[in-house]
């Protein structure tokens, strides 16, 4: 190989090293697959409801929280790069069927980077749709450290429809592990006590603390979700207030 060929190869490899898939990618693929199967009436049934997870931590949390009910989880599938400019968000009001409140940036430095629209609905343990389907808008905000906070705004809430109150602050530690990962005794203990939730499909073992703050405003359901941002209840409540106060 010529020196120039080696130079191109090396440059591409160096550039690519900065790109790493998010730990939610597999969950998003499974959610999208389940959603399309549901819509297209696919008869092939491969993904179990237990792993029928979602874009967004809130729904990830909910899968474990609602195991006893008929509705065992919520699938929210959404594009995350459909909206690239904050000035374009308003253009999606008609598609969504509602006018959400949002901010360009938060006082604590998180600024809008991208967003997209999709749908959310409840599912039973067989992955069948339960209840109504609602339109959803998700907006991602990033700070200077590269940390992300996601704001999801739903036209309705499957949990509320199911008679559950989901508003307020919650946090949960997740351990993302490779598909062939063998649980240690400590993992089993922590999973049983609810200290961690094990999520399979990552290429390496990673532990993340997820936080969410949910509230309702003028008939819409808002959820702020953060991974390893250590915001805490007070800070998330303050961010929610900034959205609520934005007319």
């Amino acid at each position: 190989m010529e020196k120039f060929d080696e130079f191109i190869k090396d440059a591409l490899e160096k550039k690519a090293e900065t790109v790493t898939p998010s730990c939610f990618l597999l969950q998003r693929i499974k959610a999208e697959t389940a959603e399309r199967k549901r819509k297209e009436n696919f008869s092939m049934k491969i993904f179990s409801a237990k792993k029928l997870v979602v874009l967004g931590v809130v729904a990830l949390m909910s899968v474990s929280c609602y195991a006893a009910a008929k509705m065992t989880g919520v699938v929210a599938s959404s594009k995350n790069n459909e909206i690239t400019s904050v000035s374009d968000i308003g253009k999606y009001d008609k598609k969504l069927g509602f006018t959400p409140k949002y901010v360009d940036s938060f006082d604590n430095g998180y600024k809008f980077t991208r967003g997209g629209t999709g749908t959310t609905h409840g599912v039973d343990e067989d992955g069948n749709s339960v209840g109504k389907e609602y339109n959803t808008l998700n907006l991602t905000y990033k700070n200077d450290k590269g940390q992300n906070v996601m704001l999801m705004i739903d036209g309705g809430n499957p949990y509320t429809d199911n008679g559950e109150n989901t508003t307020g602050y919650t946090n949960q530690t997740y351990k993302f592990v490779p598909p062939d990962y063998q649980l240690t005794d400590e993992d089993k203990k922590e999973e049983a006590s609810g200290d961690i939730v094990i999520s399979y499909g990552s290429d390496k073992v990673e532990i993340q603390k997820m936080e969410s703050y949910m509230w309702q405003d003028e008939g819409l359901y808002y959820t702020l979700t953060a991974a390893d941002c250590n915001l805490g209840e007070k800070e998330m409540k303050n961010m929610a207030k900034q959205i609520n106060d934005n007319k």
Binding site: F4, I8, L12, I29, G201
Partner: protein, 194 residues
Amino acid sequence: MLTTEETAALVKQIQNGNEAAFDRLFAEYQLKAVRTAALISGDVSLAEDIVQETFTDCFLNIMALKKPESFKSWFFRSLTRKAWKAIDKKSRLVPVEELYEKADSMLPPVFDSYPSEQRSSYAKLYKAIGRLGKKQRTTIVLYYFNGFSIKEIANATSSLEATVKSRLFSAKKQLKKSLSENIEKMEEPVYGKV
């Protein structure tokens, strides 16, 4: 990366309804897929959507894959098409050149300790790759980053091998032209021993 035989075995397991086999296949392909999508599209934020669509389509249509050993070319053909579609969609919103100028103006941190002349060479190359047409850029990425043969690129891009050779030749010519000053110095150890 899995061998062709190992990949084929996993595909057969998925076709037989084994969910864990899909997880394993995903774990093996995801990194290369996201990086390839980012290099072809020149946009990291687009890459995950491209890969999400590709894996979803592959999974939903995997029963139709009659030759499990051809999964790799089947997968990258799908990824390439989706990347091109994403580029076309985005270029309607932002002029392509501006998009890639922006994407390539920042060098990865690995270059922080490099001499300025060397940094300048890499920056020029990234800019030049960003200015290539999507088909030429895809050819360059698949050839140099993925290590695909001309035949494999022809499969992935649904093109004739002669067309791939032509794209590779003209893309390299354009890249060389944009780096002409640096190329002369390339005979000296500007890029280190290669």
